[in-house]
Each structure stands twice: as structure tokens, then as C-alpha cells.
């Protein structure tokens, strides 16, 4: 099997082979990157067929713009971004389905403005926190439970690290809507994680 070089340079021999239309190099790249890209697209779209379409659209658009690939980042990073963009196009055109309300996952307050349920400290929130596979799975499952429009904004802003204006444009909403949704999504995620990570809970 061909080695796909991770070197971040445009004159990388592997990138040169791709540009020259080397079919074997393309196949090696597609085989290596497809599983990871499919996981990224599934996370954003939560629909297998749409995710597969997004990966395919991403590759097609990547093949067409290989000459624009400046080599400022690794091919894998470049493909990741293109796939996220392809998934965003899908999100925009997809018919909106009614979704669950996020209200139940937001903190509640007493009439005088105090927390209705006082937040407790969490156990170690350092790097070690997610050392266990079960913890990571738990966090992924919690993100997956967020209503679509909130989960998408959280993934794009906090995980993919797009800026507010990029997300707003991609989703066809205002900057302020993105900010409000992100704050609510983080609060909801916090609510879902608290039972597992609060001190005193297993």
C-alpha cells in the first residue's frame, strides 16, 4: 500500500502525484481518509446517507481544486475542512425537522434569581478527566443528545473552531443567533455531563 505522506508542504511528492492525476495515489488517499471523514460528516449530519454524500461531494470538490491546495496544511486537514463545508451545504438545504426543546436542559432559577439547584464542583477537570474511553463515549453521547440546531453550532464553533460569522453564514442565521445557540448548547451540555462529573457522583 502506498505511503500517504503527512508532510505539510506543497511540493510533497505525494501531492505532486495527486496533481499529476496519479490514480493509485488518489485511491490510497481515499482509502486512508474516508473512514475519518465519514465519522466527521456523520457527527454533523446524523444521517448516514447524507454523510456519505457529503464525503463524496467533499472529495469531488477537493479533486477539482487540487491546484489551489497551497500545501500550507496537511492534505488530511485540508480534506477535513472541505468535508465540513460539504456537510454544511447539506445542512443548509436539508428540510428542517421539528426538534426537541432545549429548555429542559437549561439551568433553572428561583424567583429571586438564585440557582434552583446549586451547582457542585466537578471532579478533576484537567486532561486526566477524559482519560477513560467510557468518559469520552459519555461526552460524545451527551453532545449527540442536544437538539440539532444547537448541536450543530456547538460542533462548528467549539470543535471545528469556525468563527461566529462563518457559522452564521453557513447556517443562514445572524451572528447573534449563533451566539445565543452556542451559549445554550454549552449550558445544556453542562447539564447532561453534571451527573457523571460532579464530585461525589460515580
Amino acid at each position: 500500500m502506498l505511503e500517504v505522506s503527512p508532510r505539510p508542504v506543497g511540493d510533497d511528492p505525494f501531492v505532486q502525484r495527486l496533481r499529476a492525476g496519479d490514480g493509485e495515489a488518489f485511491e490510497a488517499l481515499v482509502r486512508r481518509e474516508t473512514p475519518r471523514l465519514l465519522a466527521v460528516a456523520r457527527r454533523l449530519l446524523r444521517n448516514d446517507e447524507d454523510a456519505r454524500d457529503a464525503v463524496q461531494d467533499g472529495f469531488v470538490s477537493a479533486f477539482r481544486s487540487l491546484d489551489d491546495f497551497g500545501g500550507r496544511c496537511q492534505v488530511a486537514t485540508w480534506l477535513h475542512r472541505i468535508t465540513v463545508n460539504a456537510a454544511l451545504m447539506k445542512l443548509r438545504t436539508r428540510r428542517r425537522k421539528p426538534e426537541d426543546s432545549i429548555e429542559d436542559l437549561l439551568p433553572s432559577f428561583l424567583e429571586d434569581g438564585h440557582h434552583a439547584r446549586h451547582p457542585h464542583q466537578w471532579r478533576d477537570t484537567g486532561e486526566a478527566l477524559l482519560s477513560s474511553r467510557e468518559d469520552r463515549e459519555f461526552v460524545r453521547a451527551a453532545i449527540d443528545r442536544l437538539p440539532d440546531s444547537y448541536r450543530t453550532v456547538l460542533l462548528l464553533r467549539d470543535i471545528e473552531e469556525l468563527d461566529t460569522a462563518e457559522v452564521a453564514q453557513a447556517l443562514g442565521v445572524s451572528d447573534n443567533v449563533v451566539k445565543v445557540r452556542l451559549h445554550r448548547a454549552r449550558q445544556a451540555l453542562r447539564t447532561l455531563l453534571a451527573p457523571r462529573f460532579e464530585k461525589g457522583n460515580a
Binding site: V30, Q56, G113, H115, Q121, L129, D158, I159, K179, R186
Partner: protein
Amino acid sequence: MSVEEVAPGRAAHGPAALTCREFVELLYDYLLGGLGAERTAAMNAHLAACPSCVAYLRSYEASIRMGRMALTPSDDPVPAEVPEALVRAVLAARREP
């Protein structure tokens, strides 16, 4: 100091004092450094007096970090199986004019 010892609804006294609800509402902009000097000072004063909101702030930040850690590509287990049908479709799409 427990929250109950503080004036009802306010973690600090004075007209600029915030309730816990207001603190949580303003948290997003506070963390971005996007509040003006007066509101930032009110947020700091609230934090100094309210252990509940200190815990809330820390767990809010921890949730962001943990989401990132659970989903960054390097930590994400890559499915070992290559979806053959998709690979073939991608390669076929490339050959189309």
C-alpha cells in the same frame, strides 16, 4: 460564605449587583471579554461572593474542554473498516467529466 447569607437574589450589594440568573446569562460574553468595564466588575464581584456560580463557571468551561477532547480527530477512534462502496463511489465520481 454560602449564598443564603447574601441579600436575597443578589450576591453583592449595590445597584450593579447581579443575580445568579443574570450571571449565567452574561457568562458567554464575560468569557469572551466582551462585557464593558462596569459589567465585568459586577461579574467579578458576583463570583467573589457566590460559590455556586464559581462552580457553574468552572463546569461550563470544563464542558467546552471535554467536548473538544472527546471529539478532536486525534482522539476519535477511526473506524477500522473502510466503507468499500463509498470508496468506489468516490473513485468513480472522480472519473466522471
